[in-house]
């Protein structure tokens, strides 16, 4: 199998969430001395992009995305040890969590998964996250972005509080603030002065990359 066919097969197996097949094909790339970097970007990431598209079009839902994510990770586990770290761009770092008072985390997790699969370095704070924690963690890891999710109207204001606290501490310009979740809208985003809003995980990744000049 030539390189291009191999990458296509990897993407295809990933989209069909054939975990073992993805791992086997990844082994095959190693045997053929194909660079791990290429396998990741041309095979695995391409596959996950397709998964994101299928999700956006409501062909795939939560279970399918989670299964594909497992297949992605299986492939990554095989090639990662052979990855020449110097070949990589410095990854964009993001801190993500569900704001205090809210425990709905399915949407946030999908954003984490698709961002992770697009090369972001993701720090997940989980759900019902105390507001100051977002800033603390971002400072600690030197994050580029702070991403907040909420599905409840009753907890939306937490996002604004985080932005205000960033301002108080003169940190506002240091981070891009991304927000999302059911009741969030572009209007709300503008109103509280966040940098970006997206209404699904797949467009969130696309827009985040654009925002960071990595489109």
């Amino acid at each position: 199998m030539d390189k291009e066919t191999l990458f296509r097969e990897i993407s295809h197996a990933l989209v069909e969430f054939e975990v073992e097949k993805v791992a086997e094909l990844a082994q095959e790339t190693l045997r053929q001395n194909i660079s791990a970097y290429e396998t990741i970007t041309e095979g695995l990431v391409t596959g996950m992009k397709e998964v994101g598209r299928l999700y956006e079009e409501e062909e795939y839902f939560l279970p399918e995305v989670l299964m594909c994510s497992d297949a992605f990770n299986a492939g990554l586990d095989v090639v990662n040890p052979h990855l020449d770290k110097d070949s990589l761009e410095k990854p964009i770092k993001m801190v993500i969590g569900v704001v205090e008072g809210d425990t709905h985390d399915i949407g946030k997790n999908l954003v984490r998964i698709l961002s992770g699969a697009s090369g972001f370095e993701v720090y997940d704070l989980g759900r019902d996250v105390p507001l100051d924690r977002f800033i603390e963690k971002a400072e600690e890891v030197g994050s580029d972005m702070i991403c907040m999710s909420t599905l409840m109207t009753t907890t939306m204001d937490g996002m604004k509080i985080v932005i205000n606290r960033l301002k108080e501490r003169n940190l506002r310009d240091k981070y891009k603030v991304l927000i999302g979740g059911g009741p969030i809208s572009q209007t709300f985003c503008d109103k509280i002065g966040a940098d970006l809003y997206a209404n699904d995980a797949s467009s969130a990744v696309r827009k985040a990359k654009e925002l960071m000049g990595r489109a």
């Binding site: 409501e58 299964m67 009753t154």
Partner: protein
């Protein structure tokens, strides 16, 4: 807005609907639940754990608004709790399950099929007993609880459960089976108090699973609950929040008597349910109803009534989901005001005789 006082009691109105007699106005039941606790100065926690508080709170809510159904509901995890899950209770938030009990097949020994007196289920019976005595002659009472999918997913953790649908269907169906049997035990008990069981399935929502998966993991089990209620001669609504436009026909195929919807266009619902069930919905409790102003609430309620005009067997003006603690009481009143003005039917008292 010209408001006419009700002619029928909520119970008479519902009976009129069920027996094909004329009604004085549209049936209206904003989903007012735990937020009634504030009317009597109690916390959400007290409401969830004490049947007397639950009943007193609901009596206060009913006296204040005179809506057409008393809707008992605490949280999405009460059946899971009765099966063995541990919930976290906080003063003013509904209880939830932080850590799933089932992390592997071995953990199945940690749960069981819930019997009628497990977990906090008896709180409902205490409340029902009081409510039947105090207001049972005026209004019907319902108990809403999470169905098989939402219960199984709570026991297992939503994401692990979602993966099991492909990776370990056997575990998935074992949990669904146990959850279904637990729900059945609860339904029998609810019906024995003369109350109406309402199936709630937030996790079977079209926002989370594909319609194909709904067929596999939700439909057969929900149908079993509907069939049981019908055997017991009870009506049973099915409520699914989130998106439902792609599964609303399947929801109706379960045989549920009332299809209760949240984010689904009423015109689509009307076409797909097509007279096979009552439609209940779908004023967003987290938008107009929360923020107001009252004029906007009037507007969306009037639009809903107009879209559903002439729909048989009936359209019930309701919220798409429960009204939270933060929804101002005047906003709930605004909904009932629309029912008592724009939602009026021509009616003369003699017609009942």
């Amino acid at each position: 807005m010209l408001i006419r006082e009700d002619i029928l009691t909520p119970k008479e109105r519902m009976m009129a609907l069920l027996t094909g007699k004329p009604l004085d106005r549209i049936i209206c039941m904003p989903i007012v639940t735990t937020n009634t606790a504030q009317l009597i100065g109690k916390t959400v926690k007290e409401f969830q754990l004490d049947g007397k508080v639950m009943a007193d709170a609901h009596i206060a809510g009913f006296k204040k608004f005179g809506y057409d159904l008393i809707y008992l509901f605490t949280n999405c995890s009460c059946i899971a709790e009765a099966m063995g899950a541990e919930l976290v209770y906080s003063e003013n938030e509904p209880a939830g399950c932080d850590v799933p009990v089932i992390n592997s097949r071995e953990d199945l020994s940690k749960i069981k099929v819930a019997e009628k007196n497990d977990g906090q289920l008896p709180v409902y019976y205490d409340a029902l007993e009081i409510l039947n005595k105090e207001v049972g002659d005026q209004v019907f009472i319902a108990v809403c609880f999470s169905g098989p999918v939402s219960t199984a997913a709570t026991l297992r953790g939503v994401e692990a459960f979602a993966k099991d649908t492909y990776a370990d269907p056997e575990l998935c169906h074992t949990l669904l089976r146990m959850a279904t049997d637990s729900c059945k035990n609860f339904i029998r008990e609810i019906v024995s108090y003369g109350a109406m069981p309402i199936i709630l399935e937030p996790i079977a929502s079209g926002s989370i699973f594909s319609p194909k998966m709904f067929d596999k993991i939700a439909f057969p089990y929900i149908k079993e609950l509907v069939d049981l209620a019908h055997e017991l001669k009870a009506l049973i609504p099915l409520h699914i929040c989130g998106k439902t436009h792609k599964i609303i026909d399947k929801m109706t195929d379960t045989g549920a008597d009332v299809i209760s919807i949240d984010q689904c266009d009423l015109a689509i619902a009307r076409e797909k349910v097509a007279g096979r069930a009552l439609i209940l919905g779908n004023i967003d409790p987290a938008n107009e109803l929360l923020f107001g102003p009252v004029e906007d609430i009037h507007k969306v309620c009037i639009e809903a009534i107009d879209t559903m005009k002439g729909y048989t067997p009936a359209f019930v003006l309701a919220t798409g989901c429960e009204t939270s603690n933060k929804v101002p009481m005047e906003h709930i009143q605004a909904m009932l005001d629309v029912a008592r003005s724009h939602g009026l039917y021509e009616y003369t008292a003699e017609e009942t005789k």
